[in-house]
């Protein structure tokens, strides 16, 4: 058990909590919150691995985490637009009610 183990277990907790939230939440907004939790876990595990392992390049890990943050921001923007469209079309944003594609 090294420090890497502890950091990876912390990011695993984030992933598990995000997945549980994704399953139990009813609305798209709650699911977006859960996805952000999971993405945070991903970033944390990347940085933990690259900064802790002796042979790894720490700069690369930080840049990868920055890319994850950029992708998370892009994803949140798109999901906000989708939530707006769904709200206009269906009147509510629960995942149960959005079942037609047309």
């Amino acid at each position: 058990m090294t420090t890497l183990t502890y950091f990876l277990l912390a990011s695993l907790l984030l992933l598990a909590m995000g997945l549980a939230g994704l399953i139990t939440r009813r609305t798209l907004v709650g699911m977006l919150i859960s996805v952000e939790l999971m993405l945070n876990g991903a970033g944390l595990s990347i940085v933990a691995a690259y900064k802790s392992i002796a042979a790894a390049d720490g700069v690369l890990g930080q840049l990868a985490a920055l890319f994850v943050m950029g992708l998370a921001a892009a994803e949140a923007t798109l999901v906000l637009a989708m939530i707006l469209v769904v709200q206009r079309r269906f009147g509510k944003v629960t995942s149960q009610d959005i079942s037609i594609l047309r």
């Binding site: 939230g21 802790s52 920055l66 892009a74 989708m82």
Partner: protein, 209 residues
């Protein structure tokens, strides 16, 4: 008179330091090496992350869930500080707390999903069961792997790399991912604007056609 005051201040300072050093002595055998402060900070950040995360996934009020998410972001920023990446911790606060949370807040506000919304009802038993399964599955699948194999990799104490190295990396070795993420952000922004304004009727409130 001056000397008396000085010695009084000194006694007071010693008295104030006493519980701290007692705590240090008490904790020292429990913690490996003299890195006990780092372990203490790590435990604190894990508590913040778990508390915030549970609030984010369990709260029946989406605004409170978002506040739990902010708490988790702060905990992860602390983890980045422990991993000797202060720039990442700063970016975590700037991007997640500053931008993503505001987006989520707008989403909550625009869908009228605050207090008596869809999420305020308690979830069904089946949904709770699936949620528990989803909580335990990653722990059961990845947990043993991490405990068994992550300890075998030789680790080193992380050191702070300056932002100059990050910038040099972005403009030399990793210039292609950098350009790619710019394009992705541009496309995402254009797509979001197109989606949000398609079929927009200025006479209505924008939410109901």
């Amino acid at each position: 008179m001056q000397q008396a005051t000085d010695s009084m201040v000194q006694t007071l300072l010693d008295y104030l330091k006493q519980p701290l050093s007692a705590l240090q002595e008490w904790l020292a055998p429990l913690l490996p090496g003299d890195e006990w402060a780092a372990y203490l900070a790590f435990a604190l950040y894990v508590l913040i992350i778990v508390g915030g995360g549970l609030g984010a996934i369990l709260s029946r009020n989406l605004i409170r869930a978002m506040l739990g998410l902010v708490m988790t972001f702060l905990g992860v920023a602390g983890m980045y500080l422990l991993l000797a990446s202060p720039f990442l911790a700063f970016m975590q606060l700037l991007i997640y707390v500053g931008a993503v949370c505001v987006l989520i807040f707008f989403a909550v506000m625009l869908t009228h999903n605050t207090d008596g919304g869809e999420e305020s009802r308690l979830p069904s038993v089946a949904s709770v069961a699936y949620g528990l399964l989803a909580l335990l599955a990653p722990l059961a699948v990845f947990g043993p792997f991490i405990v068994m194999y992550a300890g075998r990799v030789p680790v080193a104490t992380p050191e702070v790399e300056g932002t100059d190295k990050l910038g040099a990396g972005l403009l030399s070795s990793y210039v292609l991912p950098f350009e790619l993420i710019s394009i992705i952000l541009l496309v995402a922004m254009a797509g979001a604007v197109y989606l949000a304004f398609r079929g927009y009727n200025p006479k209505s409130d924008g939410l109901n056609q």
